[in-house]
């Protein structure tokens, strides 16, 4: 919920920044802004434009921001960047015309530029992080099943099978006179005595011989050497892609873990 609110707030900030910038440009066009214009017009235009740009970047930051663990730093970077750019605009408004000379100009531009850089850098970083996390989450999700090894599954199957037929009671070696808790499935008469119905159909199963020939490579129509190469090639290809997938997901997992820490 909190992140949704933040997202909503961020988009509002973004929108107001956009409106500010557009109105600044509109204002500039209205008053035919040029170098020799009235200083108050120049201050208004560049002031609103500067603040608008900071708002836009701030809004983007709020929208793409991360929660833990990098959220803390990124929040500070965001706030600092925002304040610094607003400060830059304020300085500009204060210094323009009267004190618009060497050291002051560089203070203003430094404050504003560093603020904008921080904001945009932070937004970019967060967006990239978000992308990586999304990807790796997909990978991890699909790999949940593969976390179990074949042996794990075999053991689990064995356990389940043993438990589901309570014939194998642990007390069977020496009966302690304990009555068994879950009674065994007692098969009905037909299950023991009657034989299963079978349908018999004419079929010479020629395929057996053909399959034998195909597998052993004795197929007449095809070039034997080529076929065998193809077979081996497809095997290798399969193994290769499997290995590749494995190493890729491993790498991502390691990366993710180290990031979390």
């Amino acid at each position: 919920m909190e992140s949704k609110l933040r997202y909503y707030f961020g988009s509002m900030v973004f929108l107001s920044g956009l409106i500010l910038s557009i109105s600044a440009i509109g204002f500039a066009i209205m008053v035919h802004l040029r170098r020799t214009s009235d200083p108050s017009e120049i201050i208004t235009t560049y002031g609103i434009l500067g603040v608008g740009l900071s708002f836009i970047l701030m809004g983007i930051n709020l929208m793409v921001s991360q929660r833990r663990p990098y959220g803390l730093y990124s929040n500070w970077v965001m706030i600092f960047g925002f304040l610094s750019s607003i400060f830059g605009v304020g300085l500009f408004a204060a210094f323009y015309t009267d004190n618009w000379v060497y050291p002051n100009v560089s203070y203003v531009s430094f404050a504003y530029a560093s603020g904008i850089c921080l904001l945009s850098g932070n937004a970019f970083g967060n967006a990239v992080l978000k992308l990586i996390e999304e990807r790796s989450r997909q990978l991890v999700d699909t790999n949940i099943i593969n976390q179990y090894s074949v042996e794990d599954i075999e053991k689990e199957v064995e356990k389940t099978l043993n438990e589901s037929f309570s014939e194998t009671t642990r007390f069977s070696a020496f009966s302690l006179g304990i009555k068994e808790e879950n009674p065994v499935f007692i098969p009905g008469k037909a299950l023991k005595d009657s034989t299963q119905n079978k349908i018999e159909v004419k079929d010479s199963i020629r395929e057996v011989e053909c399959l034998q020939n195909t597998i052993s490579g004795k197929v007449k129509v095809n070039d034997y050497g080529i076929d065998l190469t193809t077979k081996m090639l497809s095997e290798t290809m399969k193994k290769h892609t499997e290995a590749q997938n494995q190493s890729l997901s491993d790498k991502l997992k390691i990366k993710l873990n180290s990031m979390r820490r």
Binding site: T142, I144, I145, Y148, V150, I153, E154, E156, V157, E158, T160, L161, E163, S164, F165, N182, P183, V184, F185, I186, P187, G188, K189, A190, L191, S194, Q196, N197, K198, I199, E200, V201, K202, D203, S204, I205, R206, E207, V208, C210, L211, Q212, T214, I215, S216, G217, K218, V219, V221, N222, Y224, G225, D227, L228, T229, T230, K231, M232, S234
Partner: protein, 353 residues
């Protein structure tokens, strides 16, 4: 003798060599019905040769009879498998599936008898764990004393249906819980995957669209439906045609996507479709039409059409068990004659040198 076993969501079918030139199929529904012992006189069940088990006060009726009883007593049937696999959450029904498998597979005639069991490939559209299912089924057959091997359901279709094409082509099994697809080149699978939709999906969708009960839809679909007829909009058959078409389109779209990820060899790939859901009249024609529209990145020479007559080994529903049997017999023969293997080794060396 070797055997082939098809463990499906709806049917468990075993194929073995019969007398002379024949195959003998044993089939049971993969379902059971839970009832109170008081509802039924047990000696009645016994004399009617109903398959059941008793545990305390509950009676479980198994297999085909469960379906009949569910209609009579109007009780929902329970199915140990869903979407092609035994789910780890359905552990209580494992004893039932065990009994049905034992029933269909029977005892091995000799030690270390080979059985090939069909299992689904990993689904592209669901996160279910196929391995758990495969290991469970394998363990059940092992406990009976068989030597087990697993085979993809799609590859079993290739083995059964595409012998005339050197086992090159696309085998598709449209079952109840799943659709399994394998693209094979000279009996070697290139791509194998499954889709967690099949006949059950059609039934569910049609049932929720029309408000008719699921079991009723299944019955209509199996006995009173064909693609070629014109049905009224809003009728059950009309909805069936619609969702069948959606299923076919979905299957082909996934096949296309998968094929674009590999580079299949430049050969002709005929398609063979099997599984109970492909029994519907006009299914293959419909499938062929959609395939030709799809423009697959592979050379499809044709869609193989079998004339299916009930209780024939060309019944597409038996095709998977038959494919498993072919794999098992081939393996048995290969172990009998060790010569071809050596030859292959030699050839391999020749290629690598």
């Amino acid at each position: 003798m070797a055997k082939g076993l098809d463990v499906g969501t709806m049917n468990i079918i075993c194929a073995e060599k019969g007398k002379g030139d024949s195959i003998s199929f044993a089939q049971q529904r993969n379902a059971f019905l839970e009832m109170e012992a008081g509802d039924l006189a047990q000696n009645m069940l016994d004399s009617a040769k109903i398959l059941y088990t008793q545990k305390g006060n509950t009676i479980n009726v198994l297999g085909e009879d469960a379906f009949k009883f569910s209609n009579v007593f109007n009780k929902p049937i329970r199915r140990p498998m869903k979407q092609g696999i035994i789910s780890p959450d359905e552990k209580e029904s494992i004893p039932m599936i065990k009994l049905i498998i034992e029933r269909v597979l029977g005892q091995p005639e000799k030690e270390e008898e080979i059985v090939y069991i069909s299992v689904p490939a990993s689904p592209v559209d669901s996160k279910v764990n196929v391995l758990y299912h495969s290991k469970t089924v394998e363990a059940l057959a092992k406990r009976l004393g068989y030597r087990t091997n697993l085979i993809d359901e799609g590859l079993a279709v290739v083995f059964s249906e595409l012998g005339d094409f050197n086992f090159t082509g696309i085998g598709i099994s449209v079952g109840a819980g799943m659709t399994n697809i394998t693209v094979a080149y000279l009996a070697t699978p290139i791509v194998s995957f499954s889709i967690a939709r099949g006949g059950d999906w059609i039934d569910e969708q049609v049932s929720s669209a029309t408000g008719v009960a699921n079991e009723r839809i299944t019955a209509i679909k199996e006995s009173d439906f064909s693609f070629n007829s014109d049905y009224e909009i809003g009728s059950v058959q009309g909805a069936l045609a619609l969702y069948y078409d959606a299923l076919i389109t979905y299957i082909i779209a996934n096949l296309k996507k998968k094929l674009s990820e590999v580079a299949p060899p430049d050969a002709e790939f005929p398609i063979a479709v099997a599984g109970g859901s492909s029994r519907a009249k006009g299914f293959l024609e419909m499938f062929e039409m959609r395939i030709s529209e799809a423009n697959l990145p592979i050379n499809i020479s044709k869609v193989k059409k079998n004339k299916y007559i009930a209780s024939d080994s060309k019944d597409p529903m038996y095709s998977i068990a038959r494919g498993c049997l072919i794999a098992a017999l081939t393996r048995e023969d290969a172990e009998f004659v060790e010569v071809p293997k050596e030859e292959e080794e030699k050839a391999k060396k020749a290629v690598t040198v």
